[in-house]
Amino acid sequence: MDDTNYITMELTVNGRRVSKHCRSGRRLIDFLRDDLNLMGVKEGCGEGECGSCTVLLDGKAVLSCLTPMEKAIGHEVITIEGIGSANRLHPLQEAIIEEGGIQCGFCTPGMIMSGVELLARNPHPDRAEIIAAISGNLCRCTGYQKIVRSIEQAAQKMSSS
């Protein structure tokens, strides 16, 4: 099996320059999870249906299970780990905790990434815009209402701060 090819991945991940010699030809999610240990990136379906693996590539929400890892070379990737930590939460992370928009938590990182992208390009989204922004993120627990309210609340927090 020594036909494995290697590549040097040079890119910015969560604000840090990364240079990693690793196996090529894999998906961006594999590189982030297996090589960088960013386990907040979740794989729910592996075929672009569920949105759990959503990350930001140059600020745009992409599905890391459908993105070849090589596409990220020279670009900037942000995962849930780059959004906020327990001591310094992003307003959307605060809001989703307060509103009870988290149950099993598996969709949560991807859901937050889609919400963060929305709020960055549209600080005052209406309900329809919020629903459209998270329409690619499936959740089997919450019924979505509390997640939608979290994004509304985050928009308020961000405009008042």
Binding site: G40, E43, G44, I97, F106
Partner: protein, 446 residues
């Protein structure tokens, strides 16, 4: 302290002083989940860890004539290829009835049944090895409908026959009840199967410690039962199995029975290395349990004044190739097919039946959803035929303290259906809502 942290610490204080009931309390694990730090089974890695894959049957019902694993074993990076023959203990499991083979031995009973296991140094090598395992099948006629499966001469899913359990519930005399009825509604229902689709597919990591303790970290709803089932197959006592429940990314009943625990433990035992096994969504849908598809024939009778008199129902539940929790799910349907309503005369039969379909097991509601579909349509249709308001008709017939359930159990506590209906009636008024008129039902085959 930020406003947010104040909210959280306040919430914790409230719950400590008065208990969480009646309080809005922040989930204990919400912060780790919101920051992507919660550890699910697939997030665990161990030094020198291998990756497991499962070869799933490509036949719904077939004899296994031969399994050739030699080519797969010769691939560099492959550490183990296992079939039923390699199992050190009993090749059997099942949460309620031990009727399921861990790896198919002489025949496969559904499309997606595990046939062989691989452990390799990368997921790609494991995948390549699966393709090199050659299984020779001799296809058998299958049966894919519970009514067909009960017919004489139907293909046998299991040697002992296709009937897993027949549940009879009798109260009063249904013939008398139907004689008293002025209106009788009779229908045939079919409810479909459903996949739980927890966002996290079934996953686990297993390894043996230096002192021979088997560690299993998995996404499970019931680690204590898992431990028992693993021990039987690996032939090790349960006090040498350390089962740990990781954060669970949704279960809904899907992870009530064993999922990957036995398979990943077998690979850890065979290789003496840590092994991770994570199902893809595709594999998960094929090989794991689902909601029971059901077929229900039902008659319900009421007097012209709107009093229920009798119910007669037959339920066929398609439990698929193995029982899982299908024995209890379909048993419950016989009890609950009348819903939370009082019938003086009640006759229900339910049949939990093996077929060559995917396995059905526990799923939120546990048979009650299928029953509710049936009894609520029956109640609406009776109300419509009687010219009564659907809520009033339900209030007139709902279970109350002192009345008996289908089994004869006297309702003596926590019987909240009347209060719920009254609240619903108020809600409908308050919001100026109206019930949608049902279109006339089309005649269906009887």
């Amino acid at each position: 302290m930020s406003e947010f942290q104040k909210t959280i610490s306040q919430a914790v204080r409230i719950s400590q002083s008065t208990g969480p009931v009646g309080q809005s309390v922040v989930r204990e694990d919400a912060v780790v989940k919101a920051t992507g730090r919660a550890v699910y089974a697939a997030d665990i890695t161990r030094p020198d860890m291998l990756y497991g894959k499962v070869l799933l049957s490509t036949e719904a019902h077939a004899l296994i004539k031969n399994i050739d694993t030699s080519a797969a074993k010769n691939i560099p990076g492959v550490h183990a290829v296992l079939t039923a023959r390699d199992i050190p203990g009993e090749n059997v499991y099942g949460i309620a009835v031990a009727d399921q083979q861990v790896l198919a031995e002489k025949k496969v009973r559904f499309f997606g049944e595990p046939v062989a296991l691989v452990a390799a140094e990368t997921p790609e090598i494991a995948e390549a090895a699966l393709k090199e395992i050659k299984v020779a099948y001799e296809p058998l006629e299958g049966v894919f409908n519970p009514i067909d499966a009960l017919k004489e001469g139907a293909p046998k899913v299991h040697e002992a026959g296709n009937l897993l359990l027949h549940t009879r519930v009798r109260k009063g005399d249904y013939r008398i009840g139907f004689e008293q009825a002025d209106v009788i509604v009779e229908n045939l229902f079919r409810t479909h199967g459903q996949d739980h689709s927890p966002l996290e597919p079934e996953s686990g990591v297993a390894w043996f410690d230096g002192d021979g303790i088997l560690n299993i970290y998995s996404s499970s709803q019931y680690i204590f039962r898992d431990r028992k089932q693993v021990g039987r197959v690996l032939n090790i006592p349960i006090n040498r199995i350390h089962s740990v429940n990781t954060t669970v990314g949704g279960g809904f009943g899907r992870k009530d029975d064993v999922t990957v625990e036995i398979l990943v433990s077998l690979l850890a035992w065979a290789t003496q290395k840590p092994v991770k096994l994570v199902y893809t969504r595709h594999e998960s849908m094929l090989t794991q349990t689902h909601r029971h598809p059901t077929i229900v024939r039902i008659r319900s009778g009421a007097t012209a004044s709107g009093k229920l008199t009798a119910l007669e129902a037959v339920v066929y539940g398609d439990t698929g190739a193995y029982a899982s929790l299908g024995i209890y799910v379909i048993k419950k349907m016989a009890l609950h097919i009348g819903g939370p309503y009082y019938y003086p005369h009640y006759k229900a039969d339910s049949f939990s039946v093996y077929t060559n379909n995917p396995i059905a097991g526990a799923f939120r509601g546990f048979g009650i959803l299928q029953a509710a579909t049936v009894h609520e349509v029956q109640m609406d249709e009776l109300a419509r035929r009687l010219g009564m308001d659907p809520i009033e008709f339900r209030l007139q017939n709902c279970l109350r303290e002192g009345l008996t359930f289908s089994t004869g159990q006297v309702m003596d506590q926590a019987c909240g259906i009347a209060a719920t209906l009254e609240e619903l009636r108020e809600y409908v008024k308050r919001h100026g809502l109206q019930f949608k008129k049902h279109p006339e039902h089309q005649e269906v085959e009887r």
